[in-house]
């Protein structure tokens, strides 16, 4: 695995506020890496340091093996898509897309061809002559993408690219960006606060909190083995309980069973059904119980078996096999 870019001991402070706190991170070539976390976690600041719009207080930023820490953005050759799209309103779509090529003094004929290619890639060839203002949000987003891709960047940086789109378009664009990434083979860094987006789109995801990296890895690895409670909660885990050895455990709702016969090992707790939410294909059954430390906890079980009965107020046993229990660092 080669590295397209690297953060080496990077810190960014704004006054008293530490936005990014001594991170080390490698961006693998040809993959889509997601920086994921709640607002204020340092993901956007990290992206802006990579693009050169702010300079780290300490540490180094390496791009394609050279130290780019003090390099201005125009020398980095990266393509960036901004949350607001940041299209040039006084230029046509084609002029927007061709702007970077014009600066690189690409001859007119080649420029026209590459602009058309980039617009075709995002499916907007027919809108080349339009003004950005006339386009829908989704179309503007694609123009911004085409503009960034047209310069054949070493890295494509996407800052919350889907957050201004409506829900349906957002889901479509996830697949669209993946397709474009696959077709171009570009190294992509995407910033998002949406865990579904990160899980679906990433080759590699980096979870951040308060300027630090909490966990990184392939989505399946991070999701199946969250390192700590923060990561687990951020990815949607809701069942937390303390084991007999006082370690923190979590378990996914679909791995909890109701009223099954006790097997050796694993989790067995008696409790009372507090709530049942019927959702067609399944039911979410909330059981109030007491964990090994004597603390009252509510566990949610995702029940798909119609044979299993559970009504509010009934006594039930919740169980999970040992292999399904995830041990978390505090």
């Amino acid at each position: 695995m080669t590295t397209a870019a690297e953060f080496v001991g990077v810190t960014q402070r704004f006054g008293d506020f530490t936005a990014v706190d001594d991170i080390d991170l490698a961006i693998p070539t040809g993959q889509l890496t997601t920086l994921l976390g709640p607002s204020g976690c340092g993901k956007t600041t990290s992206l802006r340091m990579l693009a050169g719009y702010t300079q780290p207080t300490a540490g180094r930023i390496m791009i394609a093996g050279t130290d780019a820490t003090r390099m201005p953005p125009e020398k980095r050759g990266l393509g960036m898509v901004f949350q607001s799209y940041a299209l040039f309103p006084h230029m046509s779509v084609a002029e927007n897309v061709g702007y970077g090529l014009k600066l690189r003094k690409v001859p007119t004929a080649e420029r026209t061809r590459r602009v058309a290619e980039a617009l075709d890639l995002v499916g907007l060839g027919h809108l080349a002559a339009s003004r950005p203002k006339k386009l829908s949000g989704g179309q503007q987003q694609r123009v911004a993408l085409a503009r960034a891709i047209a310069i054949t960047p070493t890295l494509l940086l996407l800052d919350e690219p889907l957050s201004n789109l409506d829900a349906r378009l957002r889901v479509q664009m996830r697949a669209e960006i993946r397709r474009i990434q696959a077709e171009t083979g570009l190294t992509v860094v995407l910033v998002t606060h949406d865990q579904d987006e990160a899980l679906e789109m990433s080759d590699r995801m980096v979870l951040m909190r308060a300027g630090k990296i909490m966990q990184e890895g392939a989505p399946v690895d991070v999701f199946s083995a969250p390192a700590n409670r923060f990561v687990a909660e951020f990815l949607g885990y809701e069942n937390f309980l303390t084991a007999a050895d006082s370690s923190l455990l979590t378990v996914r709702p679909e791995h909890l069973a109701l009223g099954s016969a006790p097997a050796a090992g694993g989790l067995h707790l008696d409790g009372v059904v507090a709530d049942v939410a019927y959702r067609g294909v399944d039911r979410l059954v909330t059981v109030e119980t007491v964990d090994a430390q004597g603390t009252t906890v509510r566990l949610v079980a995702d029940v798909r078996d119609d044979e299993v009965t559970a009504r509010p107020g009934e006594r039930v046993t919740v169980s999970a096999s040992d292999s399904r229990l995830i041990r978390l660092a505090a």
């Binding site: 050169g52 953005p73 125009e74 990266l78 040039f88 309103p89 702007y99 600066l103 960034a148």
Partner: protein, 265 residues
Amino acid sequence: MKTSRPVAASLAVAGYIVMIVPILFVVATAFTGGRSLRFPPEGFSLRWFEAAFAYSPFVSALVSSLELALLATLLALAIGVPVTLAIHRGRLPGKGIVEGLFLSPLIVPELVVGLALYQQLIIGLRLDNFPVLLIGHTVLMLPYAVRVTGASLALADPSVEEAARGLGASPIRAFFSVTLPLLRPGIFSAGLLSFVTSFNNVPLSLLLQSREFRTLPVTMLDYVQQSYDPMVAATSTIILAGTVVVAVIAERTVGFARIFGGINR
């Protein structure tokens, strides 16, 4: 007029009447055939327009006023636009103080500014009247240049400039190819306001004029004090016509919504 706000609408109509009706009286009297500034006009003629164009103090004062307004506007923009950029985009310490300084001519009485310039520059440094007038008018217009371009800069998305940088533009290139075009309506409206302010100014011009260089409003004021004939009404009408032409051009090229939108939003 259908409206859900009768009070506001009535006030607006009353405002228009107060502003426009006196002007209509002036325009009507300019076309009189008689000898005095009186309403209703006696007959119709263009004789006072002919007289105004033939009266050399007015003609030379008009040229002086246009010259002064144009130069002062260009100077105010040349100083004001970079200052605005520094205030809004630069890492300037004490931005508030700098902005306050450039807006202060709005509050300081013009007579005080005029008197200060007169004392220090004309008496003290023995400068010519014209450069001092130019300095005075430029100072007077700086608030418009800073405020109006500032308003359109504040509305512009800063990431547009960053996008240009990311695509390979140097800071200067990004400024000229992206920032400046986005500011064009703001700069245009600042220029328009400045030009009109300078052209109409009396207090500064009155204090700083010389025998050789007098502006049109001051010359007209002098004239009205001596004689009360419709030539002044005709001159006013000519100026009004010029203003309307400028306004129409502004509306056609940039649009009032975009020119003044920066202030209202």
